[in-house]
Symmetry: C2
Subunit: 332 residues, 2 copies
């Protein structure tokens, strides 16, 4: 991975940490898109267009250049050898350096047992949401649509558990003109965004949004008739094991007409050496360890379905970054 001079390599590790913050900033400020679309960027013009401070903006591009994400000659910036891969994985950087920064900054405090009580950690939920929208699209969407298109029945109603800003529901309804949808989320602000998005897409009358915790929600009339359940990037919150089995059973009872359940999530890495961990896996697992959230392996999941009242029909292993998998389940 790196050459032999420890001084240079440690400088590379150090500068990478600065560059990681700069990747998130460059994404938010539009610099990554401009470099991708136009192939170059002038720091003075870019700063003027976006009303940014010039020395600080130059600092951002120096940080990216220090690890060859871009190359810089004075104020002229062009993509470097690691640009394309960084562009592809920018949402992982954002999750880490914007959404979860507070968690990693406070690592020394948060490791101490005495500080791990109550509501002991804080992340930036708006930043996490921004990152996760792109992570969801690039890690799950192709496989998700393949699974949806492969269903052996016509969907009449879908419920998305942890629907967030409603992207998945809206796309589903656009592809299934006769269907209706129920979105469930614990976060009111996300549901407000989903409501607006549904209205903008002319789908308001086909969407019901419910503010509830998926793990404890009660039966409701809107849940009858739902034949497809989907749940992405939140299944690890069902765990530990006993609670997960309970939740799976509850969902089976709450949605008596559900024929299929598409459950997609990241799973804990198994058998990968520390130095071979792909981008995101380390931060995702370490971050959840700091927060005290159990992340199941794919094997852990496979051990609970029958007990929870579901049969595993198919497993789509995606494995882009952190053991992403989609389980396709049917009622037992």
């Amino acid at each position: 991975m790196t050459t032999g001079d420890p001084g240079n390599t440690v400088a590379y590790i150090y500068n990478s940490a600065v560059a990681a913050s700069a990747v998130s900033a460059a994404w938010e400020l539009g610099a990554l898109d401009q470099l991708d679309q136009r192939g170059s960027l002038d720091v003075h013009e870019f700063a003027a267009d976006h009303r940014l401070d010039v020395p600080a903006t130059l600092g951002l591009f120096r940080a990216l250049a220090s690890v060859d994400i871009v190359h810089r000659e004075d104020a002229k910036v062009v993509p470097g050898p690691h640009f394309a891969e960084t562009l592809r994985t920018r949402s992982f950087f954002h999750w880490l350096t914007r959404g979860s920064a507070e968690l990693f900054r406070r690592m020394p405090e948060l490791l101490r047992e005495e500080n791990r009580v109550g509501d002991f950690h804080r992340r930036d939920s708006a930043a996490i949401a921004r990152a996760c929208r792109e992570i969801s699209a690039f890690c799950y969407d192709p496989w998700f649509w393949e699974a949806v298109d492969g269903l052996d029945f016509a969907v009449s109603a879908v419920a998305d558990l942890g629907c967030g800003s409603g992207d998945r529901l809206i796309k589903l309804l656009e592809r299934r003109p006769g269907a209706r949808a129920v979105g469930v989320d614990i976060a009111r602000p996300a549901l407000d965004v989903a409501q607006e998005a549904a209205a903008a897409a002319g789908l308001a009358d086909r969407v019901t949004l419910l503010e509830a915790d998926v793990r404890t929600m009660e039966a409701r009339p809107e849940l009858a008739g739902v034949d497809l359940l989907t749940c992405f990037m939140m299944g690890h919150d069902f765990w530990p094991r006993d609670r997960c089995v309970d939740t799976l059973r509850r969902l089976r009872a709450l949605f008596p007409d559900a024929r299929r359940f598409l459950l997609g999530d990241a799973t804990r890495t198994v058998g990968v050496a520390d130095r071979d961990l792909p981008a995101f896996a380390l931060a995702f697992e370490c971050g959840h360890d700091i927060m005290g959230t159990f992340i199941p392996t794919a094997g852990d999941w496979e051990s609970v379905f029958e007990e929870g009242g579901w049969r595993l029909l198919r497993k789509h292993s995606i494995d882009i970054a952190v053991g992403e998998v989609i389980f396709e389940l049917e009622r037992l």
Copy 2:
């Protein structure tokens, strides 16, 4: 620096950002010292000794192992090929991921002109102080004492501008039994620490501590008779140029008996390619650019001394990480 596979290299950049936070945490929690002194560490024992959460502590060492700072086999951790250099530069990591984390997390907001008004940035001053105490010792001390020992007069009174917790003053008085000292700092908490440290060293009656901004302080009787002025790691706050010239002139007038002025600080890198920047230089310069603090080059400094009433006798170029230099000045 790195092999050709962009996917692997970007994962290395990404994991380096997680590891950088882990370096600071491992220093604060005593793990770096234990690995240095005992050559190995068991995660379960270490967590029990320090009352830490086990999975989160394991996460910390996985992060260090991902970029070969340590090697890990299950719970057994030993130093890796980059351990020694990381240990040496841990204070730079701490400055970045603990002291200045907030600055880099908020990069996208803080670059925007509209947000750069008033007191727009915040750092963790206690964390910065911890990092800077070690940075000062390892970047400046050997050269500082060489300069002090080379003085051609017997010091009777020294004033340290920006004295912080008083380390430098106390060591000076221990080496110069007949001398007295004046410490000036803007931060009351630092002066309280200095007061205690002086008392503990039995030097309270030889030390005067003054709470004041070096750039605007008024004449005081205690300043008469001071023949040695020292000022470390704060000279960049004298700038921009006009204000720096004024401050140098003011100091010349405030300390009418000063024969020598040892001024040590980091200076802005000149002529180093972005990808060759050593650890700390990039973060130090980029961080000050985000804060809008001008960092002079060594050349900028050399251009102000005569105008400010001082003659440059000698220049000690240290250049460990960020153009550290000690200027030895005498009154014109």
